[in-house]
């Protein structure tokens, strides 16, 4: 059973939270997608958003970055309220967004895909070595147009793109979706190493990946955050995992 109290209880505020999402409600057109999502992301950690398909995880990320601004509630980044600001403004505060479905610019070359993310001149030069150490493939593909890349390579490019500017928080949406197992390994490795310098809020359906990367979790169900806690506790609770994440959860 889902604890009905969990719905109301707001996560404990912590001084060192880089991002606090407080009870946001988001509409897309007439549809009430988020009906009270609260997430606290401690600095320097990987926080995972879990939940079934259509639970509102992607919309939560989009509400934070400002692509679907919340109508009610607060989004507080580095102590400043940012809800209602335009997306580019929010991104320039130091938030990187990696959308689902490998949304790279397919009509731009790999290097242009990285270059366009620069916020200051020379961003890419400074970060190139780090990016290529995470994704060595991209170095070889540097000049190719984006639509020549395989699905996995596109996904890596999408993550790499968010690493070009100095971001203190990355919102990563389903990086393992549709990837071959060996590429999932590589992606996990990359996210683990980039989390050494950057805080990550990760949406992930693949529970194995989520459980190995995350240090705390939130479960979103039906547009609400219903559970939160330490990942280590969740791994023990097989019943909850099965119930909340449905088919293909913890095996």
């Amino acid at each position: 059973m889902v604890n009905p109290e969990a719905n109301k209880s707001s996560p404990a505020a912590n001084q060192d939270d880089i991002l606090r999402v407080e009870g946001i409600h988001t509409y897309i057109g007439q549809f009430h997608i988020l009906e009270g999502v609260s997430v606290h992301v401690p600095r320097g950690s990987i926080t995972v958003l879990l939940g079934r398909n259509g639970a509102g995880k992607t919309t939560t990320l989009k509400s934070i970055i400002g692509l679907t601004p919340p109508r009610v509630g607060k989004v507080i980044f580095e102590g400043k309220e940012i809800q209602g600001r335009r997306a580019f403004d929010i991104a320039n505060l130091g938030i990187g967004y990696v959308p689902e479905n490998r949304a790279i610019f397919r009509n731009l070359s790999v290097v242009e895909n990285l270059k366009i993310a620069e916020r200051k001149k020379g961003d890419l030069e400074r970060k190139a070595d780090f990016i290529f150490s995470l994704f060595p493939d991209l170095k070889r593909l540097y000049r190719l147009p984006g639509d020549h890349l395989s699905g996995g390579q596109q996904q890596m490019l999408a993550v790499a793109r968010a690493l070009v500017p100095d971001n203190s928080l990355l919102l990563i949406d389903e990086p393992s979706e549709g990837l071959a197992p060996i590429l999932i390994e590589q992606m996990m490795e990359a996210i683990r190493s980039l989390s050494a310098t950057t805080t990550v809020l990760l949406v992930e359906q693949n529970f194995i990946m989520a459980s190995q990367l995350g240090s705390q979790y939130y479960i979103v169900d039906d547009g609400k955050t219903v559970r939160e806690g330490r990942m280590a506790d969740l791994i023990q609770d097989k019943k909850l995992v099965n119930e909340m994440l449905g088919v293909g959860g913890a095996k």
């Binding site: 997306a87 580019f88 959308p99 610019f105 009509n107 731009l108 020549h148």
Partner: protein
């Protein structure tokens, strides 16, 4: 491998060029050199103009999803403004002080918002204050224009007398400064009142930062200086322009046409398109309405007449230059190209078209701005999420597109009549070009414009030769569109899914 992928990548472009080449060889053989070269050059002239109209149209649609039905009207506007500068600059010089004054007033918006940042009021009071200010602004603006003979300033002869003995023949009288001076002042006040209403005094949800206010202050100073300068040169300016070298004045007219287009484009984007992003259909309807308003306004000022703009002396010396290099010395009105006598001015239009194509290509391919446009055509939201102000890019693209169309308009003026509906045919053809080339693709616009220009020219030639209806030439472009759409439904270079 790499070669193969190059062929694959550019298959559309290569096949179109291949078809054109084959048809060209056949045409050359069947038609004979003289008619072929003449028709091909006419086609290129048309193609250059189509490109200048279509390039903006396709970028604006690809990036902003705005189908700009006023594009042809802006082509026409560019033609009228440039032509006025060339033959009778009184109209422009007389109105610029007022336009700059209004802009000066409008930049006060953020300052008003900043000064009144501590003032809050109830919704009812807010509305009253806002509509009061807005109405006062309109009233003051009306007072500023009251009695100003704008139609008189616009008065221009049908066939200009530029080459007559008196270069100032066209000039129309203006009010002396002693009477005129209060108009710009009232206009500043009108702009400030409207800006004050738009800044929604009393509404706490609108925050104006100090940086915004400072920027507005700087803009205010600059515009105030510009207004003062424009007011002072109001009477001496037209005389100076008309007595200046006619060639220089002509290139000035090209620039003025493009700049007026750019300024008008900026005003339209900010005032009409931007507030309607939430309602995309309305944007299209607004541009459609704007086209009518523009045409009617132009008719009001210059009557629904067809004016003839004279060519600058650079393209008007009697006689024929033996080749293009000789033309650089003699400035003849015609040039011998492969045995064909062709007007030198049309060659100039082809050159401008090619120049714009190269400039746009370099901009799109190698600049960061072009990169953002190409990315934005595919996925605007993601560009925004990377920290790029897409709305600002929209404004630039809109301004650039309109400026290009306006340049096409003033460029075409010396050989097509300047009249209110001069842009309509170009707009229709440009839409076909955009569909053929693929929405949002500037190289597609270039190829499509080339195809349509040649089709029109050769269609006209065939219709004339075989006594067919000239409608065949007009239909040919639509037939090409139908064929392209059957083979490639997204257009030759369309990628947007």
């Amino acid at each position: 491998m790499r070669r193969l992928s190059f062929l694959h990548e550019h298959s559309a472009m290569l096949s179109v060029l291949g078809i054109l080449l084959v048809m060209g060889i056949f045409g050359w053989a069947l038609m004979g050199q003289m008619p072929f070269v003449r028709t091909a050059l006419s086609g290129l002239t048309l193609g250059a103009l189509y490109f200048m109209v279509a390039a903006g149209l396709t970028l604006i649609f690809g990036l902003m999803d705005v189908l700009n039905f006023a594009h042809g009207a802006m082509f026409m506007l560019g033609a009228y403004m440039g032509w006025q500068f060339y033959t009778n600059p009184t109209f422009l010089f007389g109105l610029f002080p007022l336009i700059f004054a209004l802009l000066t007033g409008l930049t006060c918006g953020p300052l008003v918002g900043y000064l009144l940042r501590d003032y809050t009021a109830e919704d009812r009071t807010q509305q009253t204050v806002q509509s009061g200010l807005g109405l006062a602004g309109v009233l003051v603006g009306f007072l500023a224009l009251n009695g100003l003979d704008i139609i008189g300033m616009a008065d221009t002869a049908m066939v200009d007398m530029m080459n007559s003995a008196n270069p100032l023949a066209e000039i129309t009288p203006q009010e002396p400064l002693g009477i005129f001076w209060f108009r710009p002042l009232l206009m500043v006040a009108a702009g400030a009142l409207i800006a004050g209403a738009a800044s929604r005094p009393g509404d706490k949800t609108r925050m104006v930062s100090q940086a915004d206010a400072r920027r507005a202050g700087l803009g205010l100073g600059a515009l105030l200086a510009l207004t003062a300068a424009a007011t002072l040169v109001r009477e001496s300016g037209p005389v100076a322009v008309l007595t200046a070298d006619a060639n220089l004045r002509f290139f000035g007219a090209l620039l003025v046409g493009a700049v007026c287009g750019a300024g008008f484009g900026a005003a339209v984007e900010v005032a009409l398109i931007r507030p309607l992003y939430a309602r995309p259909i309305y944007q299209v309807i607004v541009t459609l309405g704007l086209a009518y308003v523009l045409k009617e306004t132009i008719q009001l000022l210059w009557e629904p007449l067809a004016y003839q703009m004279s060519r600058p002396p650079l393209f008007a010396q009697p006689g024929k230059a033996a080749n293009i290099f000789e033309w650089f010395v003699t400035h003849n009105q015609t040039v011998d190209v492969f045995g064909v006598t062709f007007p030198s001015y049309r060659l100039f239009i082809i050159a401008i078209g090619i120049l714009m194509l190269i400039a746009l290509g370099v901009l799109m391919k190698y600049s960061r701005f072009g990169m953002i446009i190409r990315a934005g055509v595919q996925d605007r939201q993601m560009v925004e999420a990377l920290g790029i102000n897409v709305r600002q890019v929209f404004t630039f693209v809109f301004v650039m597109g309109i400026a290009l169309a306006a340049l096409g308009g003033i460029g075409a003026s010396p050989f097509i009549p300047v009249q209110p509906n001069m842009g309509d045919a170009f707009q229709l053809q440009a839409f076909i070009v955009v569909v053929i080339g693929g929405m949002g693709s500037y190289s597609g616009a270039a190829i499509g414009a080339l195809l349509l220009g040649l089709a029109r020219a050769f269609g006209d030639y065939l219709a004339l030769k075989y006594n067919l209806s000239p409608a065949i030439a007009e239909a040919s472009t639509v037939i090409i569109m139908a064929i392209v759409l059957l083979v490639r439904p997204a257009g030759l270079f369309g990628r947007k899914e």
